[in-house]
């Protein structure tokens, strides 16, 4: 039985941070050259357990500084200040196909950081912990206000930064996973953008006018600068953003961010038409060795027919594309290449910025949350495990880099540019 002749000190700063804020994790007062395991534990709202860990050795002063010292192994290795968060994965024995998503954006993620003796890789729940602290990770900064929107038939949630404003606005369009995802707009509001999370997939027959109505609701809010509105989309939401920005007379964004999106879609119809089109190509679905679903071919090859893709040569505002080169769900790299070609041909490619990340997958989300390579998709009549792609470390770096550049892009176009 180990005799603890010493008590180590574990500190995390800040202990309550925004989800995209770095933290500093330090261990002090241990013996020198002593092996320790840093461990993170997170319980999702669905009751699943996620964990991450790294193996360290204390320095000559008996300290570990996660921001500066290398992890020698675990769910991440090397010098990774935020590895304990981004390398979180479902604990052994979990249900397959899990994806971490915070439904309630108003409460923090609560991560327990612990220190274990030696280099452990399993059985953490059965071992004695040397020290442990609770860390909160928030999507909403203090003072950010959450407002339910139900006017003019539009359903969504508006997040307003603190202060009198007026603020630039963002319409945030999540992907085909459905439901109202609030955490990204909550975080965007924490960075000074009045952000509307739009609920648009409740009904299959949502009309294009619905998006225009939502845009108007945002424009007309007294705390929003009506001439400084951008669109941020993920996956299918990016497709909607591209289409609306080119073809709608009402939606005139000042800039657009398309994460993991494609311009390939039936331009003339509604969303229902687009889904029907995709369904027609079901036979192009592939499966990997684990029987996970690869849907990226359903939209390929990139059409030459302009009725089948958004004509981005008509795009009039800056466009930022975020591309994961290992995207297994949508042909995002191919679409980005085609969009660039179209815009170069038309002479408006100066508006285009493409951020392309090797070995990153489809779900490029705000940083320091767990990477999801595959997860279940409830597509009638069965539940499939969809393969999103990406490898943990490169994908996490992509999330960190893309988020920072996204915020810079939004600031530059919505805050800084002249009227």
């Amino acid at each position: 039985m180990e005799t603890n002749l010493w008590r180590l000190l574990l500190s995390v700063q800040p202990s309550r941070g925004l989800v995209d804020e770095k933290f500093s994790v330090r261990v002090q007062n241990a013996p020198p050259a002593h092996p320790l395991t840093m461990h993170a534990l997170l319980h999702s709202e669905d009751g699943d357990t996620w964990e991450a860990f790294g193996h360290y050795v204390t320095d000559s002063g008996g300290d570990v500084n996660v921001s500066e010292d290398p992890s020698l192994g675990g769910t991440y290795d090397g010098v990774e200040p935020m590895g304990l968060l981004w390398s979180l994965r479902p604990a052994p024995g979990s249900r397959p196909g899990l994806r971490f998503r915070k439904r309630d954006a108003q409460t923090p993620m609560q991560v327990r950081l612990s220190v274990y003796q030696g280099h452990q890789s399993e059985g953490f729940m059965d071992r004695a912990v040397l020290a442990s602290v609770m860390v909160e990770r928030w999507y909403m900064a203090p003072g950010v206000r959450r407002v339910n929107i139900t006017e003019g038939g539009v359903t969504g949630t508006l997040f307003l930064p603190p202060g009198p404003g007026p603020f630039p606005g963002l319409m945030d369009l999540w992907g085909g996973g459905g439901g109202l995802v609030e955490y990204r707009p909550a975080l965007l509001a924490s960075h000074g953008f009045a952000s509307l999370a739009l609920d648009y997939l409740k009904q299959a027959d949502v009309k294009n006018e619905y998006f225009e109505d939502a845009y108007r609701v945002l424009q007309q809010h007294p705390q929003v600068c009506k001439n400084r509105i951008g669109l941020v989309g993920l996956s299918f939401g990016s497709s909607v953003a591209l289409k609306m920005s080119v073809y709608s007379n009402v939606i005139q964004p000042r800039c657009i961010v398309c994460v993991s999106g494609s311009h390939i879609q039936h331009v003339g119809g509604t969303l229902a038409d687009i889904f029907a089109d995709i369904a027609k190509n079901q036979k192009k679905t592939r499966y990997n060795e684990e029987n996970q679903v690869i849907w990226r071919d359903l939209l390929l090859p990139v059409p030459t027919d302009l009725s089948k893709k958004v004509d981005v040569s008509q795009e009039q505002c800056p466009l930022l594309l975020v591309v994961g080169e290992d995207d297994q769900n949508w042909p995002v790299p191919e679409s980005a290449d085609d969009m660039r070609e179209m815009m170069e041909g038309a002479g408006n490619s100066h508006l285009l910025t493409v951020l392309s990340y090797p070995r990153a997958g489809h779900l490029i989300e705000p940083p320091y949350s767990p990477h999801c390579r595959e997860s279940d998709r409830k597509t009638k009549p069965a539940i499939f495990i969809a393969l999103w792609g990406g490898e943990v470390a490169p994908h996490s770096r992509a999330q960190e880099d893309a988020w920072r550049k996204t915020l810079d892009f939004l600031r530059e176009n919505l805050y800084c540019s002249a009227d």
Binding site: R7, P14, E21, Y415
Partner: protein, 470 residues
């Protein structure tokens, strides 16, 4: 924008952001009206990181997207639990890139000057028109202090409520880290609150005693627990706690034992921390208790000049007896520092510091107008030198700091209202200190207090003790 509506919602903010929304959702439509010139221009970007910090954590306040070389005022506003408003402000000019970085740029005026990362907190004072003699203290430590930071156009020194700011951000300042537990103690006649750090422990313990103002002040204990110490904030002056007439140290020994016997406390690693009268009690226990031995002691703004074998109420009353030495200055403020001067040479009138057996840290301000702590510390050193235990003593004297040396980044007040408990008389007491040196003293002393407690209470690996194999 009405401050009242602003703070009504800000105070609710930390309790339930959710119930807050509906009220706040209305603000954009009714309460706040951006000025007409602002409707077309965009606000600058104000950020405070971390957005939610511990009270002793530094923050970074930055402003971007201003025109270059643009004068701005950065302003902080807080509504206390007593409903008073406190504010601070600094004057800045943006650089060529339109940025202001508070941690690096110099404030050109306001309630603080120079490059002061935390000036917006420690230089706070009651807003004009407030009641007098105010002191800012957080009594509910389970909720944060909520501070509104705003940027105003130009260099403004008044009328902050009459003009809308260009931008605002909200920051929370917490005494309790997440997961720290707070437990009411009512045991064996002892009354107090115990704070337990997160984690399995066991942890070192601290008995924490505030001063003669009475009541139960929890915030320092909460903060100590956030740094890994089980802390008991002890109530020893309320009428309900019949300590005052007890001549023995039994009450304090029981409190000490409660900490020691807690299942998450390392028995032989319990120290005592006291301020003012609490410091005197600390020295009394450390020198004379036959049943408890603190492993170390921290005495802030305290004195050993009190008779050892007398009750607390005797000691307190005795202090007020030397009326000829208690001055009232031209602003009607009580100046008590002369009560024990000159330091007595009669050994019966002071604690025998030769009896101290553990490391002792004294923290004093040399502008302390309430107690002659610097002179006391010199006498303590003299006594310990003569007794041969001076190696245990460390003294920190802070130039131009006053009596109330508290955890950092909270406002300094040179004088405030004080109720003399046994007379139930309200007076204005001069604590002393000048704002900037006092703020520096709070910052520096807190770090040193934490280091001192860690050094003596956290068992350290020793190279001479063989470690058990894994």
């Amino acid at each position: 924008m009405s401050w009242r509506s602003c703070f009504y919602f800000l105070r609710a903010a930390h309790k339930t952001l959710y119930t807050l929304q509906e009220q706040l959702g209305l603000l954009g439509r009714s309460g706040i009206r951006p000025s007409s010139t602002m409707a077309q221009t965009v606000t600058p970007i104000l950020s405070v990181l971390p957005t939610r910090g511990l009270v002793d954590e530094k923050f970074k306040v930055a402003l971007e997207n201003l025109p270059p070389r643009f004068p701005v005022t950065l302003h902080s506003l807080h509504q206390s639990e007593d409903k008073d408003y406190w504010e601070a402000f600094g004057y800045y000019v943006s650089d060529d890139r339109g940025r202001v970085t508070v941690s690096q740029d110099a404030s050109l005026g306001g309630t603080y000057t120079g490059a002061e990362p935390m000036g917006l907190l420690w230089s706070m004072r009651p807003v004009p028109g407030s009641r007098t003699g105010l002191r800012l203290r957080k009594m509910d430590v389970q909720s944060p202090m909520v501070v509104l930071i705003s940027a105003y156009k130009g260099h403004v020194f008044e009328g902050f409520r009459e003009q809308p700011p260009m931008a605002s951000a909200v920051t929370e300042r917490w005494y309790m880290a997440p997961g720290v537990q707070r437990i009411d103690i009512r045991e064996r006649g002892v009354k107090g609150t115990i704070f337990i750090p997160q984690g399995p422990g066991p942890f070192p313990g601290v008995l924490d005693m505030w001063g003669g103002g009475g009541g139960l002040v929890e915030y320092r204990s909460a903060l100590l627990a956030s740094h890994g110490f089980v802390s008991l904030a002890l109530d020893y002056l309320s009428p309900k706690v019949a300590v005052a007439d007890d001549q023995s140290l039994v009450y304090f020994e029981k409190a000490f034992n409660i900490i020691q016997q807690h299942p998450q406390v390392i028995k032989d690693r319990v120290g005592i921390c006291g301020l003012c009268l609490g410091a005197s009690v600390t020295l009394n226990v450390a020198a004379y208790s036959e049943s408890v031995s603190p492993r170390c002691c921290v005495c802030i703004s305290g004195s050993h000049v009190l008779p050892a074998a007398k009750s607390l109420s005797y000691v307190i009353n005795d202090g007020y007896k030397h009326m000829d030495k208690l001055l009232v200055d031209e602003q009607n403020r009580m100046v008590w520092r002369h009560a024990i001067l000159p330091i007595t040479t009669n050994p019966d009138e002071k604690l025998d510091m030769g009896r101290i057996k553990c490391p002792l840290l004294l923290v004093n301000g040399d502008d302390d107008q309430s107690k002659a702590t610097v002179e006391s510390a010199e006498d303590i050193a003299k006594m310990m030198r003569a007794a041969g235990n001076e190696h245990l003593l460390t003294t920190l004297n802070y130039h131009d700091a006053g009596h109330l040396i508290e955890p950092p980044y909270t406002p300094h007040f040179r004088a405030s209202n004080f109720i003399i408990q046994h007379l139930q008389q309200k007076v204005l007491v001069l604590w002393g200190g000048k704002t900037k040196p006092h703020a520096d003293a709070q910052e520096d002393s807190w770090q040193k207090i934490l280091s001192f407690l860690r050094e003596h209470l956290y068992p350290c690996p020793s190279s001479s003790i063989p470690q058990a194999k894994l």
